[in-house]
């Protein structure tokens, strides 16, 4: 059960290939009304009904928060993932009726900031497209540093440069261009907030450097939706509902719990929001924690798991669910 959110019945109004890997999808409400308002950094969970299988994946909204006639998301094709992005790229065409969640923002701007410093890696650019629209409309002070593999894979780099000029700086991996992180972080005026969205390695690197250069944690914001990783199948006992379930190779633990008719709370399905946090009653084996919610201490304790993205290998696992 999605916590505090209701669903939106939408129709795909457009599908636009952006480059070799990324496609943009536009949604409008089926009843023709305006969509709910949102703020830059918000995401929606898209329900993908693929035969007898339903996947629920979170994607950042990238349109302007000032325009709620449609929502837009951009999806990078992942050929080795669990198939959500491939489904979107191959099966979703204009006119298809879909269901998405209300927008939820776990990566919002702190509008008390004197300046917003944004660091994007790859497809992590999408929340910043919405946030820069929001800030530009309000005369906000921002600077965007965007790392991409090559110019042709620099999704929306051209659009953002066109809109914001020198406020957007591009770094191309193939030209060995790198963010000079020490210099960048040391030269920001007091009251700057830092936002980073991209691969886990980039987020960890930026957070680590920021912390050691004296950026208080309140000023460092990050978002990384960990897509649920496939893995070896395993069995789980749900103690509260007295059920034993099997988690398939391509299935997340949360999806398996839902398939058994148990409805745990969720929001982001990406290991970020904390809603689906579940207590472990007993275990004999190894946890594969993939979330950004639990502390390292929680991970080591073996007492908690985030079933949206984390897995288990071993003899037995009993959850309080």
């Amino acid at each position: 059960m999605s916590t505090g959110t209701t669903k939106l019945d939408v129709v795909v109004s457009d599908v636009v290939p952006v480059n070799d890997l990324v496609t943009r999808f536009h949604f409008r409400r089926r009843d023709g009304e305006l969509l709910p308002t949102f703020s830059g950094g918000a995401h929606v969970v898209v329900e993908m009904r693929d035969g007898d299988r339903t996947r629920l994946n979170p994607y950042s909204l990238m349109g302007s928060p000032l325009d709620t006639r449609e929502y837009t998301i951009s999806i990078r094709r992942d050929d080795v993932g669990r198939g959500g992005s491939l489904f979107m790229h191959r099966q979703v065409k204009p006119g298809l009726e879909m269901v998405i969640s209300y927008p939820v923002n776990l990566f919002s701007l702190d509008l008390r900031a004197k300046k917003h410093l944004m660091l994007a890696g790859g497809i992590g650019i999408t929340p910043f497209v919405a946030q820069t629209s929001q800030l530009a409309g309000a005369g906000g002070n921002f600077e965007l540093h965007y790392t991409c593999r090559t110019a042709s894979l620099g999704t929306y780099a051209d659009v953002l440069r066109e809109r914001y000029g020198n406020r957007v700086r591009l770094y191309h991996d193939d030209r060995e261009e790198r963010i000079d992180i020490e210099r960048l972080l040391s030269s920001q005026p007091l009251g700057t907030h830092l936002y980073v969205c991209g691969p886990a390695g980039m987020i960890n690197w930026v957070r680590d450097r920021a912390a050691s250069l004296g950026w208080p944690s309140e000023t460092v914001h990050f978002e990384h939706f960990a897509a649920p990783q496939p893995g070896a199948p395993f069995d789980v006992t749900l103690a509260v509902s007295s059920k034993t379930i099997h988690v398939g190779e391509q299935q997340s633990l949360l999806e398996a719990i839902e398939a058994a008719g148990v409805d745990p709370p969720y929001l982001c399905r990406g290991g970020v929001c904390g809603q689906c946090e579940t207590n472990v009653i007993s275990s004999d084996g190894k946890f594969i924690h993939n979330d950004h919610w639990l502390s390292e201490e929680d991970h080591r304790s073996g007492c908690k798991i985030m079933p949206c993205v984390s897995r288990f290998e071993g003899k037995s696992l009993v959850l309080e669910r």
Binding site: R112, A113, K114, L185, S186, S187, Q188, P189, L190, G191, T192, A211, S212, L213, G214, W215, P216, E218, T219
Partner: protein, 198 residues
């Protein structure tokens, strides 16, 4: 030591060295001792990148202890009002990586925090340690005037003269506790005045 009564009542910690490129200390009177105590835990060379702004107060104590830390800059000020223009200038020109440490009376911590909040530092990012007097800065909720160094309960507003109950209700924005008329129904009802914040 301040006890938590209502959610807005500030709670202070113990200064500890933070990672950062520059360290700005603002202290009054006994607050100097919070800095010297912290110095024992600080890595070598910590004060090479530090500025200390110190208000010794009328007795002029602890100046030598602060000097002995050999901070990169030391500024001795006669009052908070006198150091405010300099503090604003420092914060305006500062970069991320500056860490702020506030030690001493509640009035000093509150006013320095108020200035730092305006400069964009989150209050949870500041290190604070209460030392010395419990005297309060109080805003009269009726006339809005601020009375400094309130030590009694109730207290008289230095602007409008009303007799005020000094509440634990605190405003970070105003850097003041709220004072509410204690005898609004019957002004002739004057409760005894006690030394509550020595």
């Amino acid at each position: 030591m301040a006890a938590k009564t209502i959610i807005s009542r500030p709670i202070y910690g113990t200064l500890s060295p933070q990672p950062g490129k520059h360290h700005l200390f603002i202290a009054d009177a006994e607050g100097a001792l919070a800095i010297t105590d912290m110095a024992g835990k600080a890595p070598a060379g910590f004060f090479d990148g530090a500025e200390i702004v110190f208000i010794p107060g009328p007795e002029g104590k602890h100046i030598a202890a602060v000097e002995a830390l050999k901070p990169a800059q030391l500024h001795i000020a006669p009052s908070f009002a006198s150091l405010l223009p300099r503090l604003r200038q420092t914060l305006t020109n500062a970069h991320m990586g500056l860490r702020l440490y506030l030690a001493g009376t509640e009035g000093l911590i509150g006013q320095a925090m108020q200035t730092a909040l305006e400069a964009g530092i989150d209050h949870t990012s500041m290190q604070t340690e209460h030392r010395g007097s419990l005297a309060r800065r109080m805003q009269c909720v009726h006339c809005k005037g601020i009375t400094e160094n309130v030590t009694t309960q109730p207290a008289t507003c230095s602007h409008c003269g009303l007799l005020l109950l000094v509440r634990d209700h605190y405003s970070r924005r105003l850097a003041a506790f709220q004072g509410v008329c204690i005898n609004a129904e019957d002004r002739s009802d004057i409760p005894p005045m006690e030394e509550a914040f020595p």
